[in-house]
C-alpha cells in the first residue's frame, strides 16, 4: 500500500517536471522566436539620456535599461537567440558526428574503434577553457566558430554512449539473425541499431543542450565567442559586472534567463529519461 502511494506521488512529481519544464523552455523559445516582432530594434538602440533606469518604473522599459540606455527586456529576449541557436545547432551537430563515431566504433570494432576512442579519450582529457582559448586565438571568435568548438568538444559524449550501447546490442539475437540472413551492414546500422539507440541519445541531447547554453554564456562572458556588439546573455553579464552593486537589474535579468532556460531543459531531460528508460539503465 505504502509503496503504491509513493509511486503515485512520484508520478505526479514527474508530471510536474514535464509541465514546468515545457512551460519554462516553451515560453522562452516562443519569446525568442517572436523577438523581432516584439522588439524591432533588437535591443541595440542606445539612449544615453535614459541610462540605468530602474526596472518596474515605466512601461517603456519594464526591466529597466543598461548603462547605455538600452532596454534590458528587449536585450534579454533578443539575446536568447544567440544562446538557443548555439545550443541547438551544436547539439544537432554533436549528435550527427558523435552518433556516427559511436556506431562505427561499436559495430566494426578493430582499428576504427581504437582510433576513434583514443580521440575521445584525448578530447575528454583536454580542459575545455584551454581548448576554447586556443581555438579562438587561432580562428577568431564568431557564432559559427562557437558552434564548431562545442561540436568538437561535446560530440565525444555521444560517441561513448552510442558505442557502449552498440557493443551490447550487436550480440543480441535480432542483430545476429539479421547478419545471418545477409542484411548489409548499412541497413543493420540504420534500421536495427539506430532506432534502439534513439532514447538515450535524445535524453543526453536535452541535457547537453542546457550544458551548451551555459558554456556559450561563459565563453561570451569571457570575451571569447560571439562579438560584443550582438546582444547575448553572456555578453550582457560581462557588461554588467561593474554595475553589480549599483544597478542589479542589468545582470540579474540575463542571469535569470540563463537559469530558467537551463532549468527548463534539465527538467525536460529528466522527465524524458524516466519516460523512455524506466529501468534507469542509461543514467548518464
Amino acid at each position: 500500500m505504502a509503496n503504491a502511494t509513493t509511486s503515485g506521488r512520484l508520478n505526479r512529481f514527474k508530471a510536474m517536471e514535464f509541465v514546468v519544464g515545457i512551460l519554462l523552455f516553451g515560453t522562452i523559445c516562443l519569446a525568442v522566436l517572436f523577438a523581432p516582432l516584439l522588439f524591432p530594434d533588437g535591443g541595440t538602440k542606445i539612449d544615453l539620456a535614459a541610462r540605468l533606469t530602474a526596472p518596474f518604473q515605466s512601461f517603456a522599459h519594464v526591466l529597466g535599461t543598461d548603462p547605455l540606455g538600452r532596454d534590458v527586456l528587449a536585450r534579454v529576449v533578443t539575446g536568447g537567440k544567440v544562446s538557443l541557436v548555439v545550443g541547438f545547432a551544436s547539439v544537432v551537430g554533436s549528435i550527427f558526428v558523435g552518433v556516427a563515431m559511436g556506431l562505427v566504433a561499436g559495430y566494426y570494432r578493430g582499428a576504427w574503434d581504437a582510433l576513434l576512442m583514443r580521440f575521445v579519450d584525448v578530447q575528454l582529457a583536454l580542459p575545455f577553457i584551454l581548448l576554447a582559448i586556443t581555438f579562438f586565438a587561432i580562428l577568431g571568435g564568431s557564432l559559427i566558430n562557437t558552434i564548431v568548438l562545442l561540436i568538437v568538444s561535446q560530440c565525444v559524449q555521444y560517441a561513448r554512449l552510442v558505442r557502449g550501447s552498440v557493443l551490447s546490442l550487436r550480440e543480441r539475437e535480432f542483430i545476429l539473425s539479421a547478419r545471418a540472413i545477409g542484411v548489409a551492414d548499412r541497413n543493420i546500422i540504420l534500421r536495427h541499431l539506430l532506432p534502439n539507440l534513439l532514447g538515450p541519445v535524445i535524453v543526453l541531447a536535452t541535457l547537453n543542450f542546457a550544458n551548451n547554453i551555459l558554456l556559450e554564456s561563459s565563453l561570451t562572458f569571457l570575451g571569447l565567442g560571439v562579438d560584443p556588439t550582438i546582444p547575448s546573455w553572456g555578453g550582457m553579464l560581462a557588461d554588467a559586472r561593474t554595475y553589480l552593486q549599483t544597478a542589479w537589474w542589468v545582470s540579474v535579468f540575463p542571469g535569470l534567463a540563463i537559469l530558467l532556460t537551463v532549468l527548463g531543459l534539465n527538467l525536460l531531460g529528466d522527465w524524458l529519461r524516466d519516460s523512455l528508460d524506466p529501468t534507469g539503465r542509461t543514467s548518464r
Binding site: 541595440t44 538602440k45 542606445i46 544615453l48 539620456a49 541610462r51 548603462p67 547605455l68 540606455g69 570575451g223 562579438d227 560584443p228 556588439t229 557588461d239 559586472r241 561593474t242 554595475y243 553589480l244 552593486q245 549599483t246
Partner: protein
C-alpha cells in the same frame, strides 16, 4: 654545476639578508597598492609604461623631480644652470647619496647612466629617442656634470625627472649584468627592491638612509590586478590600500563613494583616449571616411553620460594642461547627415564592416566603444568590437600595424607637452605610428624640437594639432581624470595626475 651552486647560495644569502633587514622596521606598517599592469621589465631605458613609473619613482631618482603638484624641483641635482644658447646645462649634484647596494652616487654614475641610455643598451628600448638632444655628458668634478646638447631641448629638464633618465648604479650593472638588473633594480630612491614575481606583484622595503629622509612606512607591496571589478573588490575587502588608475571604471565610482571606509580621489590628469585610424588599409585610408566617422559620433553625449563628470571632451590628442593645447581649435561637429553624405561620396557601401580594437580590461572604453559602434551603425556602417589583452594590443597589434580600422590609444603624455605625444603618434617610423608616412607632418614635428622660445614652439605645436585635425588621423574622445580609490587608513597621500606616486611621506593607521 659549481657555478650554479654558488649562484643559488648567493641568492639564498641575499634573500636572508633582505629578510633580516626588513624585520626591525616592520612596526611602521605595510601599504598595499594595486596596479593594472605588470611592467615586465624594471630597466629605465626599457619601458614606456605608466605602471612602471608608479613603482619606479619609489626605487629610482632623477636629477630633477616632479611631484603631484607638477612643479619641477631638485632631485639628485641640487641646482642647475642653463647656458645662454641653451646647449649646455651644468648640474651641481647632491653629495653623500648612496645607491641601495652601497656604491656612491656621483658624476660618474650620471655619465654612466646617460652613456648607457644613449648607447647600445638604450637602443634596445623605447626611451632613447626622448633624450636624443643630449650629445654627451661630461664629468667636471665628482659633484658637477655638464650636459652638452646637440640642440636645445625645452622639455629636457622635465624629462630628466622620469623614465629613461633615472640614475642607475654603474658598478652593480657592470658586475651583475644587464639581465639581472632588469629583474633586480637598484637605485637611490626611498624604497629598496625586494622581489618581483611576474604577473603577481613586486615588493619594496623602506630605505632608511634615503637622502630625502627615511620613509614612514616599512613595506610597499604592489599587486598586479588587471580586472577592474577585482581591484575594487580587493579595495573594499581591505586587502588593497590604494588602487592606482587607470583601472577604476566610471561605473564603480558610486560604489567607492558609498563605502564609508574608502575615499575616491579624482584629479585631472594627462591621460587621453582616442580611437585612432588605420590610415593605410581599408575604407579608413580615405580621409573622407575618417571625417565621416568622426562626424557620426556624438562625443559630447558620450562624455556627459558615460564618463559622468570624470572626463572632458578633447579635440586633439592632448589634455588642456598640455603645452600645445589650443582652446580655439574646433573639431568636426556631430553631424550624422553630413557623415552619410561623405560616406556616399567616398563610395562606401551601406553595411561596410569596420573593426574597433580596444583594451579588454578597460571597462569604461568597453561601454564607450559600444556607444560609438551604435552611432556608426546609424550612418550605415557595420562595426564590430574586438577586445584584446592589454600586452597583446600594445606589443603585437598596434606596433605591428595589425589593427582593425579603428584602435584604442590611451596616452599618458606625462611631460604635459604635446611634442611628447605628437612625435610618438605621428612621426614616420615611430613605434606608435604603424601606418602614417607624411613628410610634411614629419617636418613640422622636427622643426619645433630645437626651438628655445616656448611661445614660438607652442605655435608650431598648435599647427601640428590643426594639421592632424585636418587630416582626421584619429577620432579624439576624452581626457579622463586619474581616479584613485584609497582606504581611509592611508594618511598623507596626495594623488598624482601622472600616476607617479612617491610614497615616502605616506603613513598608515
Amino acid at each position: 654545476m659549481e657555478l650554479k651552486f654558488t649562484r643559488s647560495l648567493l641568492g639564498a644569502l641575499a634573500l636572508s639578508t633582505a629578510l633580516i633587514a626588513a624585520s626591525p622596521s616592520l612596526a611602521a606598517g605595510k601599504l598595499t597598492v594595486s596596479l593594472s599592469q605588470d611592467p615586465g621589465s624594471w630597466d629605465p631605458v626599457d619601458t614606456f609604461l605608466v605602471a612602471w613609473a608608479t613603482v619606479a619613482t619609489n626605487i629610482f631618482d632623477g636629477l630633477t623631480y616632479r611631484g603631484p603638484d607638477l612643479k619641477l624641483v631638485p632631485g639628485l641635482a641640487e641646482s642647475w644652470q642653463v647656458s645662454e644658447d641653451g646647449k649646455k646645462i651644468t648640474f651641481k649634484l647632491r653629495q653623500n647619496v648612496k645607491f641601495h647596494d652601497g656604491e656612491p652616487f656621483n658624476a660618474d654614475a650620471v655619465k654612466f647612466t646617460f652613456d648607457r641610455l644613449l648607447g647600445d643598451e638604450g637602443s634596445k628600448g623605447p626611451q632613447k629617442s626622448n633624450y636624443a638632444a643630449i650629445e654627451k655628458v661630461e664629468v667636471v668634478d665628482p659633484s658637477t656634470v655638464d650636459f652638452i646638447l646637440k640642440s636645445p631641448d625645452p622639455v629636457l629638464l622635465t624629462k630628466l625627472a622620469g623614465y629613461g633618465a633615472m640614475i642607475v648604479p654603474p658598478n652593480y650593472i657592470k658586475e651583475k649584468g644587464e639581465d639581472y638588473f632588469n629583474t633586480h633594480p637598484v637605485g637611490t630612491g626611498a624604497f629598496k627592491f625586494i622581489s618581483y614575481e611576474p604577473k603577481i606583484g613586486v615588493k619594496l622595503e623602506a630605505n632608511p638612509d634615503y637622502w630625502g629622509g627615511a620613509p614612514k612606512i616599512s613595506e610597499l607591496d604592489y599587486k598586479f590586478i588587471t580586472e577592474p571589478a577585482t581591484a575594487v573588490a580587493e579595495l573594499q575587502a581591505g586587502r588593497v590600500d590604494i588602487v592606482v588608475p587607470p583601472i577604476i571604471p566610471i561605473s564603480m565610482v558610486p560604489t567607492i563613494k558609498g563605502d564609508s571606509r574608502l575615499e575616491l580621489m579624482s584629479v585631472p590628469g594627462p591621460t587621453v583616449d582616442a580611437l585612432r585610424f588605420n590610415t593605410r588599409d581599408g575604407i579608413t585610408a580615405d580621409v573622407r571616411v575618417r571625417k565621416a566617422i568622426i562626424m557620426a559620433v556624438d562625443r559630447k553625449t558620450i562624455v556627459d553620460a558615460i564618463l559622468a563628470g570624470q572626463a572632458s571632451e578633447i579635440v586633439s590628442f592632448q589634455s588642456s594642461l598640455s603645452l600645445g593645447y589650443d582652446p580655439d581649435l574646433k573639431g568636426l561637429p556631430f553631424d550624422p547627415e553630413g557623415a552619410k553624405k561623405l560616406l556616399a561620396e567616398a563610395g562606401v557601401k551601406p553595411g561596410a564592416p569596420l573593426q574597433i580594437d580596444i583594451r579588454g580590461n578597460d571597462a569604461t572604453m568597453n561601454e564607450v566603444a559600444q556607444a560609438v559602434s551604435s552611432y556608426l551603425q546609424a550612418v550605415g556602417l557595420n562595426p564590430t568590437i574586438k577586445p584584446y589583452e592589454l600586452n597583446v594590443l600594445l606589443n603585437d597589434i598596434i606596433p605591428q600595424g595589425k589593427t582593425g580600422a579603428l584602435f584604442q590609444q590611451k596616452w599618458g603624455g606625462w611631460t604635459f607637452d604635446y611634442d611628447n605625444t605628437a612625435y610618438s603618434m605621428y612621426h614616420s617610423g615611430e613605434k606608435w605610428n604603424p601606418y602614417e608616412k607624411d613628410a610634411e607632418l614629419d617636418k613640422l614635428l622636427e622643426s619645433q624640437r630645437p626651438m628655445t622660445d616656448a611661445a614660438e614652439r607652442e605655435k608650431v605645436l598648435k599647427q601640428i594639432a590643426a594639421y592632424v585635425n585636418d587630416k582626421a588621423l584619429e577620432l579624439p574622445l576624452y581626457n579622463s581624470n586619474a581616479i584613485y580609490g584609497v582606504n581611509k587608513r592611508v594618511k598623507n597621500f596626495t594623488p598624482a595626475p601622472d600616476n607617479r606616486i612617491k610614497l615616502n611621506e605616506v603613513t598608515v593607521d
